[in-house]
């Protein structure tokens, strides 16, 4: 018993010492991420991407001669744990800038703390519109808000598919709900009929009751907003029930990551999805990052990876321009950001009710022969879109 407690104490002491050893020529940066729990898949991809970016910058000599030392703290996807992490980063580690976390709920918890404590926070993936609509002076968001996620997809619908009706299925989370609401609004504006708008519990295993209703209504487009497992299950069950539509469309997240194709197999074929980024995006460094990620971790990254990767580059740019590295100057430098990253152009603007929000073009990808190809806007396209799509029965 006693020996065990001695061992524990030793472990803690060693840990604390190790943390303090490299203090001088380095820039220590802790990033909250969900590394366990249901969002761990995204957290892991972002973690790898942060590491790739930091390694690249360190290889070039770091930021103003200081090497970036990254560490990751597991927020478990729980807002109060994310808040604990950020309170610690601000108070104990005196970190002058916060980046990261994945879900909207956690990003909101962090945003509130960061703004209260006057430490700039760069939101990397939290998509709920509300985050940058709160008059938070210290909160910046690099990804477009959820309302803009499907902008590219909508122009694809308008110009190519020309549907008259739509069914919207979404998971019961803030991301799913705000995505579905925005799509409904846009669809009504385009004169479409919204035949079905149905919410399901995330992590559900059987979508057949909802899908049967969809089948009866025969919509032109079936639009779905969901995370990983639900996305592939939905497509598999659409296939099993032989529900045909002019187009199956996903609202980013679960539809836009490689796991979707791996899990749904041939049911994923022809599915289009809104996305913020793709490995074929014509931004400087996008392709190199995607290839590097693939050679290291075996698969192409989705937009989440690109966001994380670019976040480090934004930070580099900001820290280079900042007069000193304290929170106020970093905030001022961040506000003046105007750069192009592998993820796309970054500029924090105050407009349309948003504050410090980045606005950018969003893309559409389609699964063609088991690969995500960029198909829209045509200037970004890596392959010609396949439309109309064959019915389930006429496939093989």
């Amino acid at each position: 018993m006693k020996r065990l407690s001695m061992l524990m104490i030793m472990m803690f002491t060693v840990g604390i010492l190790a943390g303090n050893l490299f203090a001088d020529d380095t820039l220590e940066l802790s990033i909250p991420l969900p590394l366990t729990g249901s969002q761990a898949k995204f957290g892991e991809m972002e973690k790898y991407s942060y590491i790739i970016a930091a390694d690249e910058i360190n290889a070039r000599g770091g930021i103003k001669g200081k090497k970036i030392v990254l560490s990751f703290e597991d927020g478990q996807g729980k807002p109060e744990v994310s808040r604990s992490i950020v309170e610690k980063l601000i108070d104990v580690d005196k970190q002058q800038v916060i980046i990261g976390d994945y879900s909207s709920a956690c990003s909101k918890a962090i945003a509130a703390v960061a703004n209260e404590r006057k430490v700039p926070y760069l939101v990397v993936t939290g998509a709920d519109d509300a985050i940058t609509q709160q008059n938070y002076d210290y909160v910046f968001r690099m990804n477009p808000s959820n309302a803009y996620y499907a902008a590219g997809l909508i122009s694809f619908l308008k110009q190519v598919v020309k549907p008259v009706s739509i069914a919207i299925l979404y998971e019961s989370s803030d991301f799913g709900t705000s995505g579905a609401n925005d799509m409904e609004k846009q669809a009504l504006e385009m004169g479409m009929k919204v035949l079905v708008k149905e919410k399901y519990e995330k992590g559900a295993v059987d979508f057949k009751p909802i899908l049967t209703r969809v089948k009866a209504e025969k919509p032109d487009v079936i639009y779905m907003v969901s995370y990983v497992m639900d996305a592939s299950l939905l497509m598999k069950q659409l296939k099993e029930l032989r529900i045909d539509a002019k187009l199956f469309a996903g609202g980013a997240a679960g539809f836009a990551i490689p796991e979707f194709v791996n899990n749904a197999k041939d049911a994923a074929e022809y599915v289009v999805t809104a996305t913020l980024w793709s490995p074929q995006a014509k931004y400087p460094g996008a392709k190199e990052f995607a290839e590097k990620y693939k050679s290291k971790y075996g698969d192409y990254p989705s937009y989440h990876g690109a966001e994380a990767y670019s976040a480090i580059y934004i930070l580099e740019d900001v820290l280079k321009r900042a007069k000193t590295w304290n929170a106020e100057d970093i905030r001022a430098a961040m506000k003046a950001t105007d750069m192009v990253t592998a993820f796309g152009p970054i500029k924090f603007e105050d407009k349309a009710g948003y504050q410090n929000q980045n606005f950018m073009d969003t893309l559409v990808m389609q699964v063609i022969k088991g690969n995500h190809e960029t198909i829209w806007p045509e200037s970004y396209a890596s392959a010609k879109y396949l439309f109309p799509i064959p019915s389930w029965r006429s496939r093989k």
Partner: protein
């Protein structure tokens, strides 16, 4: 000495923030005390009255949403939710009790578990009132400094502690224990078991609800997945009491220290990464195996271990 222990601990806790703790330490302390209050509330129903509830998230969530809805729909300060939640959650518990208290043992546990989930799904679907899955975000929290929050939750926890102590030492407490030990025997002695179980449920629910309302004010953001969480609220509440000591006054506080403070310590061990969950899980398993009555419940056992070890050390 033992008689004054609660007052001494309360005094220590009230001067603790004055020694200049960082805001991070205050945050952890606030969470510990909040969870201790929730644990005490659960303990009243589950520990003393023997009705093991797997759905305390329902009360926590209703309390949290009472505060949230005041702000979201009526534009009133969410602090009013704390007193109001007592009324709302009591009424809610009364209705809930009417349904679930007809059941016993495992059936009661399952019914409460279902109730927690039902509340979550309901909240998600009445978007006009609750904001649905988008949750409720309070634009500006009352204070940046944590002192206010700390003393409010300390007051709530202390109130809960003394109320429960008073109750358990009164006639009511003996009724509760009688119901726990043998409901049929209690009934045959003339105890109106339905009435007393309902009282325990309403009190336990209302006390949990206050903590929920506090959570809304403190965190500034709630959504159905956060406050009606089966694992993160209901199960954690049970774990706090189980680890600390069922049907003991101090069990929930000790349990909360382990479940929040120790979990945070383990989480922040550098280089452990995602393995912190495993390590913490193993620790909990060890506690449950060797101290089935919890740390406070088996305190005599712990003392014995150290007493046995002491002479051996002298020999060396």
């Amino acid at each position: 000495m033992k008689k004054y222990l609660p007052l001494i601990i309360l005094a220590i806790l009230s001067i603790l923030p004055l020694i200049g703790l960082s805001s991070y330490a205050m945050h952890i302390l606030i969470l510990v005390i909040m969870w201790a209050a929730i644990g005490m509330a659960w303990n009243l129903l589950g520990g003393y009255c023997g009705q093991v509830s797997f759905g305390h998230a329902a009360y926590f969530g209703v309390g949290a949403y009472t505060s949230g809805i005041l702000y979201y729909k009526l534009g009133i300060s969410p602090w009013w939710g704390m007193p109001l939640s007592i009324v709302v959650v009591s009424l809610f518990s009364l209705v809930l009790g009417f349904i679930v208290l007809r059941l016993r043992g495992p059936f009661f546990a399952l019914a409460t578990l279902a109730m927690g989930e039902v509340m979550r799904v309901t909240t998600e679907n009445i978007g006009w009132l609750t904001g649905g899955t988008l949750g409720i975000l309070i634009q500006k929290r009352t204070w940046v400094s944590k002192f206010g929050y700390y003393y409010i939750i300390l007051l709530v926890a202390a109130g809960t502690f003394f109320l429960i102590k008073k109750l358990i030492e009164s006639k009511l407490g003996y009724y509760f224990v009688a119901i726990r030990e043998d409901q049929d025997a209690a009934e045959s002695l003339g105890i109106n078991t339905t009435l007393y179980k309902t009282i325990a449920l309403c009190l336990s629910g209302a006390l949990t609800g206050i903590a929920g309302a506090f959570y809304t004010n403190y965190m500034g953001y709630i959504d159905p997945h956060v406050v009606f969480a089966l694992h993160d609220i209901s199960i954690v509440t049970i774990m706090i009491v189980m680890v600390g000591g069922v049907a003991t006054y101090w069990g929930p506080l000790v349990g909360a220290i382990i479940m929040v403070f120790l979990a945070e310590l383990i989480r922040t061990i550098p280089g452990l990464g995602a393995a912190h969950q495993t390590l913490f899980g193993i620790l909990l398993i060890v506690i449950i195996i060797f101290l089935p009555n919890g740390i406070v419940g088996d305190f005599a056992k712990i003392k014995k271990i150290f007493k046995q070890e002491a002479p051996r050390n002298e020999l060396n």
